[in-house]
Symmetry: C2
Amino acid sequence: MRAPYGLNILDNCLTCPVRGEHLFCNLSLQAGQRLNEIKSTAVYPKGAMLFIEGQQPRGVFVLCVGKAKLSTSSREGKTIITKISDSGDVLGLNAVVSNRPYEVTAEMMEPGQANFIPRDSLVQFLKEFPEVALRVAQQLSRNYYTAYEEIRTLGLAASPSEKFAKLLLSWSTNSGQDDGSSQVKLTLTHEEIAEMIGTTRETVSRLFSEFKKKQLMQLKGATLVIRSRVALEKIVQS
Amino acid sequence: MRAPYGLNILDNCLTCPVRGEHLFCNLSLQAGQRLNEIKSTAVYPKGAMLFIEGQQPRGVFVLCVGKAKLSTSSREGKTIITKISDSGDVLGLNAVVSNRPYEVTAEMMEPGQANFIPRDSLVQFLKEFPEVALRVAQQLSRNYYTAYEEIRTLGLAASPSEKFAKLLLSWSTNSGQDDGSSQVKLTLTHEEIAEMIGTTRETVSRLFSEFKKKQLMQLKGATLVIRSRVALEKIVQS
DNA sequence: ACCAGTGCGTGATCTGGATCACTGTTACTT
DNA sequence: AAGTAACAGTGATCCAGATCACGCACTGGT
């Protein structure tokens, strides 16, 4: 099956290759089938907005292919990115469950695909399958902890260096080698990194120079090589 | 019934004078009675820690009398206060539901009383009364929104002045007069206010002077008079 | 009365990072 | 191939607010 933006469409959750330890991705057979009925799938170009901060919640999006950034902005245009979502993540869950406006904007960072589940159908679905409702509650609670982590970082981590080091560490945790180094594909612009750690583009540029000079990291094309986790942890402190 | 610290003990939720629109405070008769059985009550002096950030969750605390501050700290001792809780508030709910460590520290700001519900009993109670479980989920979701509000403030609101103005506004919303002014009993030290808006004690002192000079507020003993909400809103902007 | 502890007000410095202003570098588009 | 965005590096400047260092007022304990 072919689709725009050069993607293959995944049209069945039960046979989806990205099935894994995700909410909505490994349900009981019945629940999975029911989910398959109430969801619709769509393909999005880079830059597409799944939903925008402040909108009334229409439903949740299950990211199947591609990355999306979640952000919130002030009136003057200052923006912070709170999370980079990957396939399997469920977006807009909290807004839908609490029936309050989306608290963030979700924008596709690359062409991708997402399933959409309308609010009413989801609520009905959760009533029908209480075990899924429980998992949703746990997910919400996990989201809360992530939010608190963000609060701690923004409120307590003093300098941009600290926050930058923290960010690098969070990237390297996933794909770590045992010698303390690790490699990550760098997909964000300096501008976006700046929005993640609450600073300016220029400062991020300088942080790159500084960290490279200090042998903390290294750049090979688009691949970021993190040299020493311990050294970074010493910078983070908090 | 007399107790330490000059407080009268409230020993029955069903006849409690602070019953109101709180989670756990206006339940069905059955649920209320059951709750009354599984809770225990205790009286705390000023400065008592109900629980500490990082501890495994033992249970939730329902604040009956007194105020408590919720805070989180870095290793170096920098602290941010995320919320001032008042009677009726349920503390530690998220940690208990998700069975993760308390994400904040809860400290009594004045002598008070709180009911304690052990984790196991609460979980059992929620299974027994699904309608209460639903309300708990809603409460969690509300907590999440509050956390996001905090993220926005910390990440987007530029200057201490802005955050201070925001804080004053949040205080004045409760007890507002129609002429735009309002009065609040000031119970926090400058140090604590500083920890709420992420700045230093000295800066808060200077903000007080500055705002008084600008006729935005006024201080009569321990009573804070907020002169003009609109003027404050103009400062907040975001 | 005394002292210690805690909170408050204010001046004098110092500095990290925002801001401004460029140039250089890719990478699409036509 | 040329032209136009978007992205990236780097110097120069500036300033809000942290930090340091006081003195002063109040409160509770002995």
